[in-house]
């Protein structure tokens, strides 16, 4: 959930009244938002960097508001205010104006196709910035970049002072060495190649370099005089940068996802056209594709959906009139009316509500407007008979009795290092049927465990100060590669126990096996019962290891651990262990 920080006093001014913190919290809750924190810049800096750094910072009160992840229309003060005002029955409409002249020509050469194939644009004409509006404008771009734009990988926004450049503009892609311009807030020209190395150490921009870094051609936008507007998604040119004095803003969005590009552009212009000479009016831009096809942006599409009052009532679990439901939806920025054909409601979805893609989203807004707390709680009449998953049932029963047998339950991670399941146990990783993780952040998450033993030995190592003997067990899943499964791997439920003391205590572990078999109703006998039989295993001390056979099938192994294994797990005492599969006992 993104958090939006707005200045309280500005917010109240825009809303036309002030609220107590409690009242505003209540209003947010009713609108489906959450007032996360009441703070100030000073408080934030003081918390993060200490009081001395905070001394000069502003103590203007900030409201931090959590908004749903897909409500891009609530990411700035302007959007929040509009949403909350509509909720209080005020509404406005967005419209497009014809362009003054066709300015933006996107030459979609095969080169842009390979790196960043989509571009859309629009103009905010005769806008009036104040410091607050300007800050909000910059902040919204950043918020969109971090959210719907997926850190600029899907969409990148560029905003320019239209009066410093002249159309038509060209969107193309060039070799990094062939792009040269003065980037934003720099004093000299750099080639794209130089810029990429310059920004390697930039705390902000370095996160975006990977998007185009390994591409042969970088996207770039020129004006008709060859001035570079931007090199998306990295940086704008310094020439066309906007300021408080900018009157006409040219907005371009380049993207790998066209739907998202259109949404982002709609969001930018709907939020800030409020400050144009003709409020809520945007000037269109024409985009010409390589094949000659032209498109007009922004789309600012109003969509109409028809649904029934019954649908809303049934899904929410309320019983309201068609008119009341239409009224509820209108309060949520969804202009609605009963059509008169039965309980049919026509709902208009404005361009700001890209999150509404299905009638169920409309239903959710109706529920928010109705108030979740006003919905009567009911009990589903679903009659069902409960069943336990047999493997878990067996696990639950065995755990109880193993604790009763004097062993303490451990709980270890399913992920571990290759070393844990191989080298440390005297085995080779290539011989394990382990699944490997491709993107571990540390060596602790290289593989999924194929055995429970390393976890128990590490638990002992971390608890060496505890009085001896240490008797531990775990019943849990390991993961093994298995070609027969759709994902190529399966879990295997294991039981593992260790005994750690001044003497190896093989007889204790052996006794635990006997007890386990007794619990599982398997008698000690060859053939139909269980027996153990000497085995060779590099994890165990030679001659002190045996396979466990149940009804002729090898289900596991027990023995005294090899001194090398004991050493590698940083232990000092002899140790015996048992590990077996419990799925054969289902």
């Amino acid at each position: 959930m993104p958090t939006v920080g707005v200045k309280r006093d500005l917010l109240f001014k825009a809303l036309g009244r002030s609220y107590t913190d409690e009242e505003f919290d209540e209003l947010c809750f009713e609108f489906g938002l959450e007032l996360d924190e009441i703070t100030s810049e000073k408080e934030i800096i003081s918390r993060e960097q200490g009081d001395t750094k905070a001394s000069g910072a502003s103590d203007v009160i900030l409201y931090k508001i959590d908004v749903p992840a897909n409500r891009y229309d609530l990411l700035c003060l302007e959007g929040l205010v509009r949403g909350l005002q509509v909720f209080k029955n005020k509404c406005n409409r967005y419209q497009c104006d014809l362009p003054v002249d066709p300015m933006f020509a996107a030459l979609h050469s095969p080169q842009t196709e390979a790196v960043r194939p989509h571009a859309v644009a629009a103009v905010l004409r005769n806008i009036t910035f104040t410091q607050e509006r300007y800050d909000s404008f910059i902040e919204l771009q950043e918020k969109l970049h971090q959210n719907i734009c997926r850190k600029r990988s899907l969409v990148a926004i560029g905003t320019h002072d239209l009066d410093t450049i002249s159309g038509p503009f060209t969107y193309t892609a060039k070799r990094p060495g062939d792009i040269s311009f003065k980037p934003l807030n720099q004093t000299k020209e750099y080639t794209a190649t130089q810029l990429m190395s310059l920004y390697k150490t930039d705390s902000h921009l370095r996160h975006y370099l990977h998007i185009i870094e390994d591409k042969p051609l970088y996207p770039v936008i020129y004006d008709s005089n060859g001035v570079v507007l931007s090199m998306p998604p990295i940086i704008n040119g310094d020439h066309s940068k906007i300021s408080l004095k900018t009157k006409n803003v040219f907005i371009e969005c380049t993207a790998t996802d066209q739907t998202k590009a259109k949404t982002v552009l709609d969001m930018m212009v709907t939020m800030f056209s409020e400050y144009c000479a003709q409020p809520f009016t945007v000037e269109e831009a024409e985009v010409v594709y390589p094949d000659g096809k032209t498109c007009i942006y922004p789309e600012l599409a109003y969509r109409k959906e028809k649904l029934s009052g019954k649908f809303i009532n049934q899904k929410v679990g309320i019983n309201e009139s068609t008119e009341k439901i239409a009224h509820l939806l209108t309060r949520m920025c969804l202009l609605s009316q009963a059509t008169g054909a039965g309980d049919e409601i026509e709902v208009e979805i404005p361009p700001t509500r890209s999150d509404i893609i299905h009638a169920c989203d409309i239903m959710e807004d109706a529920a928010i407007a109705y108030g979740f707390n006003n919905i009567t709680r009911t009990t589903p009449r679903t009659y069902t008979v409960a069943n336990q998953f047999p493997l878990n049932k067996l696990t639950e029963l065995l755990r109880q009795d193993l604790a009763a047998a004097g062993f303490t339950e451990a709980l270890n991670f399913a992920l571990c290092s290759q070393e844990d399941i191989a080298e440390k146990l005297g085995k080779k990783i290539s011989e394990m049927r382990a699944v490997h993780i491709s993107n571990p952040k540390t060596a602790e998450f290289q593989v999924a465990r194929t055995t429970l033993l390393p976890g128990l030995l590490k638990t002992i190592a971390a608890n060496r100060k505890m009085p001896l003997p240490l008797k531990l067990f775990e019943i849990s899943d390991v993961v093994l590669k298995d070609e027969t499964k759709d994902v190529g791997a399966r879990n295997s439920r294991r039981f593992c126990a260790v005994y750690y003391n001044k003497s190896p205590g093989f007889e204790v572990i052996h006794g635990l096996l006997d007890r386990t078999m007794q619990l599982l109703e398997v008698k000690p006998a060859r053939g139909e019962g269980y027996h153990i039989q000497t085995a060779d295993d590099s994890t165990f001390f030679p001659g002190r290891c045996a396979d466990i056979f149940v009804r002729g099938k090898n289900v596991g192994r027990l023995g005294v651990l090899h001194p090398d294994v004991i050493n590698r797990f940083e232990l000092t005492m002899p140790c015996s262990a048992l590990e077996m599969d419990i799925e054969p006992f289902l």
Binding site: D257, V316, C360, I375, F413, M466
Partner: protein, 473 residues
């Protein structure tokens, strides 16, 4: 049990006086160590209200080790004096004696001896008086006999300065008669024996009282892990509510079932390398229900079932990527798909199992945790039903406020309809982590002390049963 003789002697002493006796005085007069009398007092107290003993402390003077030596053998200066014969003694010889150095200077200042420095063969010491009066020894002997009051404070302090005397605090008992005072002692039995039961002579015996203040002997036993105890409790709650357990024993999942089938777009940040563990081996899943996969692809890229869709280029390659499942909802998706392949019957499902996130780790976040999930699928379920079932679930937990504990919602039609579930079937679901309520229940701040090998086994040993999971979050 102290010697019966001492006990009875003590009781006789107590009987003779009206206002009681001091244990220290008794020890002195009996000529036994004070500890013997203290032991006797404790033994008598254990017999019941025979005597009452009040602990008192008093200060008194005692000889140091050096003081004791002097009381026995005389002061250093007197020993120096007595070892000098008529014809004198070479100073070098005198200094070889253990008391020589200190004794010499003291004897000199008392003018008992003199030095002839010019004597032939080196300095020589001679007596100057015929006899001496060893007052230091006499004073010490007085103290030793318990008559320190006969000395002046100044004298005692001087001896203290010479480290011959020290002032010690002595604890003693003031012993008086108890309510059931008697001068005879009945021997008490410590424990009931099989012989006593057989012969019945336990009826005549007196038994030593138990000390109920002491702790018992810890039983030798195994222990269940606290997180698993809470898991058992949650499992029980679901079973009581008629929920059937889902088979969640598949940590490895394809992106298809973990994300795509849930209508999560392929560019969603949760599918990022920073949030999800991808596999290099086995890297890809094969075998998907082909016609279902086509419907999933269509609803993502074009919409349908009343949805606009996400309108992007859905790629099978993305769906094939194997991952460590990020939620158990992947299993719920498989279960609902399976359900849709039969004639629909309403179901209630639950699971509690591990899920994995490639997140930044801190005191409350691990790369793996347990997810608790509940799912109800039936015709015409409402948001009121979701809130109602959540209310019942959390009431069983003993919780009133549950809003922030986990997530809940209604599965989207874009997820359910491609599976083939009937259009009027709704599926409600909720989920929460098992670790968070467990940490609160057992008062654990660092998750590593609870889960994983760094667990504190003493905490496991000491953790109480989990009747109700936490009463507050």
């Amino acid at each position: 049990m102290a010697d019966t003789g001492v006990l009875e002697t003590l009781l006789q002493r107590v009987e003779k006086v009206d206002d009681g006796v001091d244990s220290l005085a008794v020890a002195t007069s009996l000529g036994v160590d004070h500890q013997v009398i203290v032991g006797a007092v404790k033994s008598l107290q254990a017999l019941g209200d025979v005597i009452s003993a009040e602990l008192r402390s008093s200060k008194h003077w005692e000889l140091t080790e050096e003081g004791t030596e002097i009381a026995e053998q005389g002061s250093h200066e007197s020993r120096v004096f007595s070892c000098i014969p008529q014809e004198g003694l070479a100073q070098s010889e005198l200094m070889k004696l253990p008391f020589g150095k200190i004794g010499f200077s003291k004897a000199m200042s008392s003018k008992w001896i003199r030095v002839d420095k010019a004597h032939e063969g080196g300095p020589r010491i001679f007596r100057t008086v015929e006899s001496i009066d060893d007052q230091v020894r006499e004073k010490l002997l007085l103290v030793q006999k318990g008559h320190s009051t006969q000395l002046e404070e100044k004298e005692k302090n001087e001896l203290k300065k010479r480290k011959l005397l020290s002032e010690v605090t002595v604890k003693s008992y003031w012993i008086t008669k108890g309510n059931s005072f008697s001068t005879t002692i009945t021997k008490q039995e410590t424990e009931l024996t099989p012989e006593m039961i057989a012969s019945g002579n336990w009826k005549e015996k007196k038994f030593k009282p138990y000390n109920f203040e002491a702790m018992g002997v810890a039983p030798d036993c195994g222990h269940l892990h606290p997180l698993m105890k809470v898991r058992t409790q949650f499992r029980q709650i679901f079973l009581e509510m008629g929920f059937t357990e889902m088979p969640t024993n598949n940590f490895i999942e394809s992106s298809f079932w973990n994300f795509d089938s849930l209508f999560q777009p392929q560019q969603h940040p949760a599918r990022d390398q920073h949030d999800t563990f991808f596999l290099s081996d086995p890297a890809h899943a094969h075998e998907f229900p082909q016609d279902y996969l086509e419907r999933v692809k269509k609803v993502h890229s074009e919409g349908g079932y009343g949805s606009q869709g996400y309108k992007y280029d859905w790629k099978i390659e993305e769906a094939q990527k194997n991952i460590l499942r990020t939620h158990t909802t992947a299993v719920s998706a498989r279960m609902l798909y399976k359900l849709a392949q039969q004639k629909f019957t309403p179901v209630k499902y639950f699971s509690i199992d591990r899920v994995f996130r490639n997140e930044t780790l801190d005191a409350t976040h691990l790369a793996e945790f347990h997810q608790i999930e509940g799912v109800v699928a039936d015709y015409g379920l409402t948001l009121g039903d979701l809130m109602g079932v959540l209310h019942q679930f959390f009431t069983k937990l003993g919780l009133k406020k549950w809003v922030e504990v986990g997530n809940s919602g209604v599965f989207r039609p874009e997820m359910l309809l491609p599976m083939g579930l009937p259009e009027d079937v709704s599926v409600i679901a909720w989920g929460l982590s098992l670790e968070r309520p467990t940490m609160i229940k057992y008062g654990i701040n660092n998750i590593r002390e609870l889960v994983g090998h760094k667990v504190n086994l003493q905490m496991v040993y000491d953790s109480p049963i989990c009747r109700n999971p936490p009463t507050h979050f």
